[in-house]
């Protein structure tokens, strides 16, 4: 049974005359990784900061563990871990001093060595933070966010600046936390990260959630695609009638592109037509929509995706 840890209803946030978040609704359940995607300025970080209790909403309701995160912070914070988009620690502190401070501020802290081992920073424990690379700072951030064994973890672009190996390591850490029942809210610009990790995905654009659901649900929003090189001597009208849409502009450029929600049916029609005409279909491809297709669809034309 789904147990909500976060409930957001008609959330709105204004900065003066600018409405950064324009009435969004979603729920995050226990043990779930919920990915919040969107272009820069879509409202992801503002949404995260409201749920984290760092910012009061202008309107709407936000509940974390059934409590208001901005006013019930004493009861909410011991159960949450936060990794902000930008790390914030004085550069003159060493890695170990920063972790020790955070341990002293946390109700259920892990050991300092354990936390540093987790993110592969044990060998950098006596290095000042100002000397760390961007990726190492993100790993330190992750160590601090997970130090209190949180039930709910907020990760704002956790793998930005990480090398591929560190990114995979972070994914392993997140999977281990999920296996323990930790709920995670993640924002990322890496769509592959959301595809790999998220149970559910929301794509924001200009302050609204345009698409929300499981990866399969989200991909359903965008049509699949069949493409092949236009055979010599074939005119637009020679092509068989398919249930999808043939792109006339691509046709003029020498490619037949069909956007369809009936991939199997339309592919069968195309193959039967080609066989019947004895036509070879060069570079034939048939793909379901990718998360990237949906993301770009939302960014370019939100109303269609919705």
């Amino acid at each position: 049974m789904n147990e909500p840890v976060i409930e957001v209803v008609d959330l709105r946030c204004r900065y003066g005359g600018f409405e950064a978040v324009r009435g969004i609704d979603f729920v995050v359940n226990r043990g779930e990784l919920f990915a919040l995607l969107g272009t820069n300025g879509a409202g992801k970080t503002t949404t995260m900061e409201v749920i984290e209790g760092l910012r009061a909403p202008s309107a709407g309701m936000v509940r974390v563990f059934g409590l208001r995160p901005d006013t019930d912070r004493e009861r909410v914070r011991p159960r949450t871990g936060v990794m902000l988009q930008e790390s914030g620690f004085p550069g003159e502190l060493t890695v170990a001093e920063a972790v020790r401070l955070w341990r002293d501020l946390t109700t259920r802290p892990s050991q300092v060595d354990e936390a540093l081992d987790l993110v592969d920073l044990a060998h950098r424990r006596n290095v000042r933070i100002k000397s760390l690379s961007g990726g190492e700072r993100r790993r330190l951030d992750l160590a601090l966010a997970t130090l209190g064994e949180p039930e709910l973890l907020f990760l704002d672009e956790p793998t930005t600046g990480l090398d591929p190996e560190s990114r995979l390591r972070t994914w392993r850490i997140l999977r281990a936390l999920l296996a323990k029942g930790t709920s995670i809210v993640l924002t990322t610009h890496y769509l592959e990260e959301a595809e790999q990790l998220a149970h559910r995905i929301a794509i924001m654009h200009e302050g609204r959630i345009e698409v929300c659901g499981s990866l399969a649900d989200v991909l359903e929003r965008e049509a699949s695609r069949i493409s092949f090189v236009r055979p010599d001597g074939v005119a637009f009208d020679d092509l068989p009638g398919v249930r999808g849409r043939i792109d006339p502009e691509a046709f003029l450029k020498g490619t037949v592109e069909i956007r369809t929600r009936e991939l199997q049916d339309d592919l069968t029609v195309i193959l039967a037509w080609a066989t019947g005409r004895g036509v070879q279909l060069g570079r034939l491809r048939a793909n379901h929509a990718s998360l990237s297709d949906v993301f770009h669809g939302v960014s370019l034309n939100p109303a269609v995706a919705a």
Partner: protein
């Protein structure tokens, strides 16, 4: 309390690792204090001791708290700390605590140096202690309030300068009259100077200057909390 101590310990480490801030907060007030003690006019110890305490409260407490709060806001430490379990007043108390403690210790040490250099024993120790404690607290409150209107640690030198100057002039203004009015005592530095005078001479009322300093402390803290920003303006 443990959380305040943890934050204060880190803040002290940072102060000691920043040579400019450390010399401003630790060395400069003590050097100036000793200089004032030896440049006094005859047997007049009131002006040197008042100046010593005000320099400590201005530089070690007021300027340093303003700079520390703005620097922590600038490097996003305050935002990071606020995302954790520590409550907002605990975070602020942790950042301010080292400067307040240093102010108390330095104030006491400088009065001790003055005594060793020949100053008479204060006639009213409670008044002298009140000058050190209340003056330090109002300086910390003023630092909190000034940090709200200070964008960067560098500009803290500019935004704190008017009040530092006002504290020294306010002290001279109040010491220039034998029976200052409550309005005159409300000037920056004036109530502290009046408490030092009460401490040195005895037999003077300390209630009004203490009430003035308590009022200023509450006002500056409330003002600071009302307009305090936890992250840089974007």
């Amino acid at each position: 309390m443990n959380r305040v101590a943890a934050l204060a310990r880190v803040e002290l480490i940072l102060l000691l690792r920043n040579k400019t801030a450390a010399s401003m907060a630790l060395v400069m007030p003590l050097v100036l204090g000793v200089v004032f003690a030896f440049l006094r006019n005859g047997d007049d110890w009131l002006a040197p001791i008042t100046t010593q305490l005000l320099v400590v409260q201005a530089l070690t407490v007021y300027v340093s708290t303003t700079t520390a709060l703005v620097a922590r806001r600038q490097d996003l430490s305050l935002k990071r700390l606020r995302s954790g379990e520590a409550a907002e007043p605990v975070i602020l108390a942790g950042v301010l605590a080292p400067m307040v403690l240093l102010g108390l210790v330095q104030g006491t040490v400088l009065v001790g140096i003055a005594l060793v250099a020949g100053a008479p024993m204060p006639a009213d120790l409670v008044a002298m202690a009140a000058a050190i404690v209340c003056g330090t607290l109002v300086a910390a409150g003023a630092g909190l309030a000034t940090s709200a209107v200070t964008a960067t640690p560098e500009t803290a030198q500019i935004t704190t300068a008017p009040l530092v100057a006002a504290m020294l002039f306010g002290a001279m203004w109040v010491l220039s009259t034998a029976a200052p009015s409550p309005l005159r005592l409300a000037a920056p530095g004036a109530a502290t100077a009046e408490l030092v005078r009460a401490g040195m001479e005895g037999s003077r009322s300390v209630l009004v200057p203490i009430a003035v300093l308590a009022g200023w402390t509450v006002a500056t803290v409330l003002l600071g909390l009302r307009y305090f920003r936890w992250e840089p303006r974007s």
